[in-house]
């Protein structure tokens, strides 16, 4: 048995609305989108215009700053709109499904028998390359790099996160083929990290060509950043790549069948969902068939992803490129009389300053209210309780705020990503926007280093 790494510092937020372990086929969505905003450091250059006919795998746009990788359409149909935000920044490219399911042909191949360059070429062309991202900076990997290792977290520990063992059921061959392809990309190890708390799926445990590691403990034990930090921390100048399991399956399909098939399973979760279940759908699909008539009333927040790191969308929004979870929670846009002084039987807090600790097994319906005003740092030692890396989180954040590049480097900025700080942001008494500060720091470092 492989070594088990125990994560002690962390937190599992007891949210209501976990998805029942049943996979249902979702009603087909009419619209699908690829969102450049799902990626960091993008300058989007469109390759199609509204009205163009596309197939699954037809390129829609590329990144001017890193032109090799193409971003392709998840379904066949017609490009119906390009939605732009401030300063005409492209937010989403929307394709209407023509229900014909036509695929571009990239040709099947056995990755074990072809050259590294050809594996890369196929991934770049098909639009599957962007599923491979790198640390530091959490940007799409550079195909010219050779990473020291590739990390795959085969479990998700985020609040209400989907169960990957359920999701990958029956995809053993595709998963293995995907691993074979990744194997070509690195000279180092492929770390496949599993949860030691329950027996994982055979798709993972019987995978060949990987180093299996076990983790146990609360969130963020499933974050790839934490796993890298514990197993093989990143030093200055080193690059590690990481991929999510469902994307490896898509890579497998590419080599097995020669097509860009990004059908995937997403979990519909959250306290406001009537029947939280798993749904089989396609990457980038509109969530409207999933949430229609399936949510409770009131003002709701729809999130692509989990409550800590997900993206806010509306009830017709699209599933994010890397997301396999939709969360629906109540909005918190109300006033509460003397809320800070009440006993708070229904309020969740890590500190035991609300009476809710009387009921430790309770699952909470937490809304999006900020629950206080932003302040300077007063409390200390809070972040350390939920931050399992060997890094001083508050000091790193302060280094970012004063934009001290050298200090950021010394304090370990290469090893972190915004998502690793999500719990810090959640528990912060001073309501500091920690994740956006970390992102600013990463962007700054990247600018300085390039």
């Amino acid at each position: 048995m492989s070594k088990i790494t125990k994560i002690k510092r962390g937190l599992d937020i007891p949210l209501a609305g976990k998805a029942e372990k049943v996979i249902k086929k979702a009603d087909t969505a009419q619209y699908y989108a690829v969102k450049p905003i799902d990626f960091h450091g993008m300058r989007t250059k469109l390759m199609v215009k509204v009205g163009d006919k596309v197939k699954s795998g037809t390129p829609l746009f590329y990144n001017k700053l890193q032109s090799e990788a193409q971003f392709t359409s998840p379904v066949s149909g017609e490009v119906v709109s390009v939605n732009r935000g401030e300063r005409r920044k492209i937010l989403e490219v929307v394709v209407e499904n023509d229900l014909k399911y036509e695929y571009e042909d990239f040709g099947a191949a056995d990755p074990s028998n072809i050259e590294r360059e050809h594996v890369i070429e196929k991934l770049l062309q098909s639009g599957l390359w962007p599923v491979i991202r790198q640390r530091p900076y959490s940007v799409v990997a550079n195909p010219k790099d050779i990473p020291k290792a590739i990390f795959i977290s085969a479990f998700n520990s985020a609040p209400l996160a989907p169960d990957y063992d359920l999701i990958v059921k029956g995809e053993k061959e595709n998963f293995q083929k995907g691993i074979d392809a990744l194997k070509k990309l690195t000279n180092g190890k492929i770390h496949l990290n599993l949860n030691a708390d329950y027996p994982p799926s055979e798709v993972f445990t019987k995978a060949k060509g990987v180093q299996i590691n076990y983790f146990t403990g609360p969130h963020p034990s499933g974050n790839v950043g934490v796993q890298i930090n514990k197993l093989d921390p990143i030093n200055q100048g080193e690059v590690v790549w990481y991929v999510y399991p469902q994307d490896i399956i898509a890579i497998g399909r590419l080599f097995n069948k020669g097509i860009y098939d990004v059908s995937r399973v997403v979990a519909l979760t959250g306290s406001e969902v009537k029947k939280p279940l798993y749904y089989r759908t396609i990457k980038g699909a509109s969530i409207s068939p999933l949430v229609k008539d399936n949510v409770k009333g009131g003002n709701l927040r729809y999130i692509s992803g989990d409550v800590l790191t997900g993206t806010k969308i509306n009830n017709e929004g699209y599933i994010g490129y890397f997301d396999d979870q939709i969360t629906v929670i109540p909005e918190g846009d109300y006033y509460e009389f003397l809320g800070w002084a009440m006993p708070g039987f229904n309020k969740y807090s890590v500190s035991r300053s609300f009476w809710a600790w009387l009921r430790p097994d309770k699952k909470y319906r937490i809304d999006t209210n900020l629950k206080g005003g932003e302040r300077a740092y007063v409390m200390s030692g809070e972040y350390e309780k939920v931050f399992p890396m060997d890094i001083y989180p508050v000091q790193l954040i302060k280094a970012i705020l004063i934009e001290d590049i050298e200090l950021m480097e010394k304090l370990g900025i290469y090893e972190v990503d915004e998502e690793d700080f999500a719990l810090c942001e959640f528990i912060c008494t001073s309501k500091t926007p920690v994740q956006s500060i970390v992102r600013k720091g990463l962007d700054l470092m990247r600018q300085e280093m390039s």
């Binding site: 030093n235 500190s351 937490i366 209210n369 409390m379």
Partner: protein, 389 residues
């Protein structure tokens, strides 16, 4: 509550940009958020937040202080009565009432002065009003003698808030604990009112009707003079039936507060326990060399005397002025305990060393953190070098 909410919503535009009272926006906001948790929702980062905020944090500390406040009021009356008329026993309520009349004005004056300055600064800077003074405003009266003139409370509070806190940028940025800054200011500026045998009990300074042979000295002052026999029993010291600053005498009341702070997670157990450990270690060292009677007081009894318990629980654990790293907290607390007992026993000029020990370590806390973090940086650099080699 919808009526009140409606009224606030009605007058709110006047305080917003372009309104009649736009200059009072921070003040309005402070009162509005005091009454209602605002309707702001998360816009970036995590979509949900922990229910804990700064107001809650501060109110928990104030709740933890309540036992010491109540006991302090009672004890002020009780000590006064002992001094002037011990023959005729008073009920608990009578003692409390005497003390209440003495202590309550000090609390009001401290809050009014401090909050006025806080509001003013928030207004000038265009910030929201910080909640930090809710705690400082309560701590200041508790570390003062009961007969302190009210104008001194005003001066000391103003000094603490302006020089101790606002010049550094407000709550969260200060280097020294504001409440101790206030006390230290009075201690050095008006020593006659802050030390000696007369100041701790109401009426003694004016010499009114004190019974013969009554000294009014605190146990530590007695001990410093070599009168170890005159020390109160351990039980009296623990329960707090002794002269001293308003809030510091009862170790039991302080312990109730400590339990609240530790259980809710607002106070740092690392600092608290290492402070106690530091105090005990120094006490044991003195016991081992006991060349005079003061040194031979059992180490654990030191914890019940003077302001040690109060300082360790409510002052040393102030997260802003303490060390911030885990390792740093152990070192910081331990040195506070060590220095407090060292100053207390060895330095005849200061019969109590807790205040100075904490202020000194406040100054050193950033240095301690610096070396702890430097250790982490070195480890990372070493790892990178090993890899590169």
């Amino acid at each position: 509550m919808s009526g009140l909410r409606g009224y606030i919503d009605k007058i709110k535009p006047h305080f917003e940009k372009g309104g009649k009272f736009e200059k009072l926006q921070s003040t309005f906001e402070a009162f509005e958020t005091l009454l209602f948790v605002p309707n702001k929702v998360t816009t970036q980062g995590t979509h949900i937040r922990d229910a804990m905020d700064m107001k809650r944090t501060m109110i928990i500390v104030v709740i933890a202080l309540v036992p010491t406040i109540l006991f302090g009021m009672w004890n002020a009356g009780y000590q006064h009565h002992l001094a002037v008329n011990p023959e005729e026993p008073l009920t608990i309520l009578q003692s409390f009432w005497i003390g209440f009349k003495l202590v309550f004005p000090i609390i009001v004056v401290s809050y009014v002065t401090g909050l006025a300055i806080e509001f003013l600064f928030a207004q000038i800077r265009g910030h929201e009003v910080n909640e930090g003074f809710l705690v400082s405003g309560m701590l200041i009266p508790l570390v003062l003698p009961v007969d302190v003139p009210l104008w001194m409370v005003v001066v000391a509070t103003a000094f603490a808030v302006i020089i101790g806190k606002e010049v550094f940028g407000g709550t969260g940025m200060n280097i020294l604990n504001p409440a101790l800054t206030a006390r230290a200011f009075l201690f050095f500026a008006y020593p006659a009112y802050m030390s000696g045998n007369e100041v701790w009990i109401h009426g003694l300074m004016k010499g009114e009707g004190v019974v013969d042979g009554f000294s009014g000295a605190t146990p530590l002052a007695q001990a410093a003079e070599g009168n170890v026999e005159a020390m109160p029993s351990v039980q009296d010291a623990f329960l707090g039936f002794i002269p001293g600053s308003i809030g510091e005498t009862s170790t039991l009341a302080v312990l109730i507060g400590a339990a609240i702070l530790l259980y809710t997670g607002v106070g740092s157990w690392r600092i608290l326990f290492s402070t106690i450990a530091g105090g005990l270690v120094m006490g044991f060292i003195f016991n081992a060399f006991a060349v005079n009677e003061f040194m031979s007081i059992p180490a654990w009894q030191h914890l019940f005397l003077g302001g040690f318990a109060f300082g360790a629980v409510f002052m040393a654990t102030d997260p802003v002025s303490a060390a911030q790293t885990r390792k740093g907290k152990y070192i910081y607390g331990f040195l506070i305990g060590l220095l407090a007992i060292l100053i207390r026993v060895v330095n005849p000029a200061y019969p109590e060393g807790v205040m100075l020990a904490i202020l000194l370590m406040n100054v050193f806390a950033p240095l301690i953190d610096h070396y702890v973090i430097e250790g982490n940086i070195k480890k990372r650099m070493k790892r990178a070098k090993v890899k590169a080699a």
